[in-house]
């Protein structure tokens, strides 16, 4: 479904991604793990059109989407739930959710909104509260629901557990599990590597802008170096 080949990304003169290739197949959950600054987020940004690719190609459902603008990529069916939640703080929960469906032109947004409220009951309670006043966990749920409002074919989660309480982290993990069960294709970046590898069908390990290891979630979990450096045992 998503195919990244030989991608290179630079900020100014500094290259941060040195030619990586990866693939996400339909219905799969793929995790990218690795240290902070290893290039996971830059890869996501390049996929979503937030930063330009210097070389290489990104294709989605057979179409080349390399260096397309961000909004075109959303329309192609990729939605990202960004790091740090990034809700619109002064807009209400409902307004945030409606923004999620911004790129859609069908008439089923109202029913989708209802579905999201059912899926995340806390959002119904907070429906008309400014999103900035929600707690961190509630904001994370809102961000996820907002991403789903786009009816994406591929859903990207960037560090969904970052800065959340352990209890909420578990909740987020369960939510992604549910989304996976709904049949959505997921690309997941997590510094909580343990959770990521548990959720993922397959995973790629990033180090210093390159992919050094790939395999199924279980394979990586049991790989000794991964275990030592990223899982903390």
């Amino acid at each position: 479904m998503l195919k990244v080949s030989d991608l290179r990304v630079s900020y100014g003169p500094i290259e941060v991604i040195h030619g990586i290739s990866l693939e996400v197949k339909e219905g799969e959950c793929v995790a990218l793990i690795g240290a902070n600054g290893a290039g996971k987020s830059s890869t996501l940004k390049a996929i979503c059109g937030l930063v330009p690719a210097k070389a290489g190609t990104i294709s989605f459902e057979g179409q080349d989407i390399t260096n397309q603008s961000g909004h075109a990529i959303v329309r192609a069916g990729i939605t990202m739930c960004p790091e740090g939640r990034q809700v619109f703080p002064q807009m209400s929960t409902v307004q945030n959710l409606r923004m999620g469906a911004y790129a859609r032109s069908d008439n089923e947004q109202a029913s989708d909104l209802e579905d999201m409220m059912n899926m995340f009951p806390i959002l119904r309670e907070r429906a008309h509260q400014a999103a900035g006043t929600l707690s961190g966990g509630e904001q994370e749920m809102l961000a996820i629901a907002r991403a789903l409002m786009a009816r994406p074919k591929l859903c990207i989660f960037d560090e969904p557990s970052l800065g959340l309480a352990p209890k909420i982290v578990a909740e987020v993990g369960a939510t992604i599990e549910r989304i996976k069960k709904m049949g959505k294709t997921i690309l997941l970046v997590e510094q909580n590597s343990l959770m990521a590898l548990r959720l993922a069908d397959r995973a790629y390990l990033f180090e210093a802008g390159e992919i050094v290891l790939s395999g199924t979630g279980e394979e990586l979990q049991s790989h000794p170096e991964v275990a030592k450096a990223y899982l903390g045992h």
């Binding site: 990034q86 703080p89 911004y102 786009a150």
Partner: protein, 285 residues
């Protein structure tokens, strides 16, 4: 009592103009983080153009305003694309200095095209209403009403339309808006068209009720920023309240304290507000 009422009415007309200017500034500031200093000169450009279309070409006022809106919009777009976009990611100082340079350029253009003489846009409204000793010229009343109408339209646009919501979204969180599929390259153009439209309307009002002349636009834009400081950044109600407060303060200051120092008093009021409430009258802490 009549005197105070009359002064409040006096202040409302210029206050309405301040509100429109401030609304134009606040939308651009909210989306692009740029203090669009050339806004006043662009407004005056719209006013001048309307005048020339009406007087030189004999077009009806409404049509003239429409053409001025279109041309003003093109000018706004040009400014955004050629001047503001290249410095979007630079230090805010650079953007501000570009804005100052643009102000000089638009002022220069105005002088070049329209000359030094003041112009007054002719209208047919010359009646004066007298309500218990308080007099309101017809034209003034229409200016106040038109300002109110534009403010309402602007509020509805931002709150109720999809594009309006997208503009808010970009203002609140640009990156997240991209991820929602908002085309952030066209949003600035939409914003500039709204801002310029409000500005051109303000220019036409100034041109009809008062006059357009070199330097007046710069004076207005300073007042517009004073309104933003008074009312609070990025807040539409703040711009409305701030603009009316500033206009009425000026009228009362001129009428009851000193006409020579009325601008000084207005600025001192602004600075006092700043000392007590740095976030402005309607701004959030």
């Amino acid at each position: 009592m009549i005197e105070i009422l009359q002064q409040i009415i006096n202040g409302m007309a210029i206050g309405g103009v301040y509100v429109l200017i401030a609304l134009g500034l606040t939308t651009v500031f909210g989306i692009l983080g740029i203090a669009h200093f050339a806004h006043g000169s662009v407004s005056m450009f719209g006013g001048y153009l309307t005048f020339f279309l009406v007087v030189m070409w004999g077009l009806p006022l409404a049509l003239a305003i429409l053409i001025a809106l279109v041309v003003g919009f093109l000018l706004g777009v040009l400014i955004e694309l050629l001047a503001y976009r290249p410095v979007r990611n630079a230090n805010h100082i650079n953007a501000f200095i570009v804005a100052l340079g643009l102000t000089m350029m638009v002022e220069g253009l105005n002088l070049e095209f329209f000359g030094h003489e003041q112009v007054v846009i002719p209208t047919d409204f010359s009646r004066v209403f007298n309500i218990g000793g308080v007099t309101i010229p017809e034209l003034r009343l229409y200016v106040i009403l038109a300002a109110a109408l534009l403010i309402a339209a602007m509020t509805i646009f931002v709150e109720k339309t999809k594009t309006g919501q997208a503009i808010r979204a970009v203002a609140e969180n640009r990156d997240a808006a991209i991820l929602m599929g908002v085309n952030v390259n066209t949003i600035p153009l939409v914003v500039f068209s709204i801002s310029t439209a409000l500005g051109v309307c303000a220019g036409v009002m100034v041109g009809a009720l008062f006059a357009i002349a070199p330097g007046i636009g710069e004076g207005l834009v300073v007042k517009g920023f004073a309104v933003l400081i008074l009312g609070g950044l990025g807040s539409i109600p703040g711009a409305v309240v701030g603009g009316l407060v500033l206009g009425i303060t000026e009228a009362l200051a001129a009428g009851f304290i000193s006409s020579a120092y009325k601008d000084v008093i207005a600025f001192v009021a602004m600075i006092l507000v700043l000392l007590v409430r740095p976030q402005g009258l309607m701004g959030k802490a």
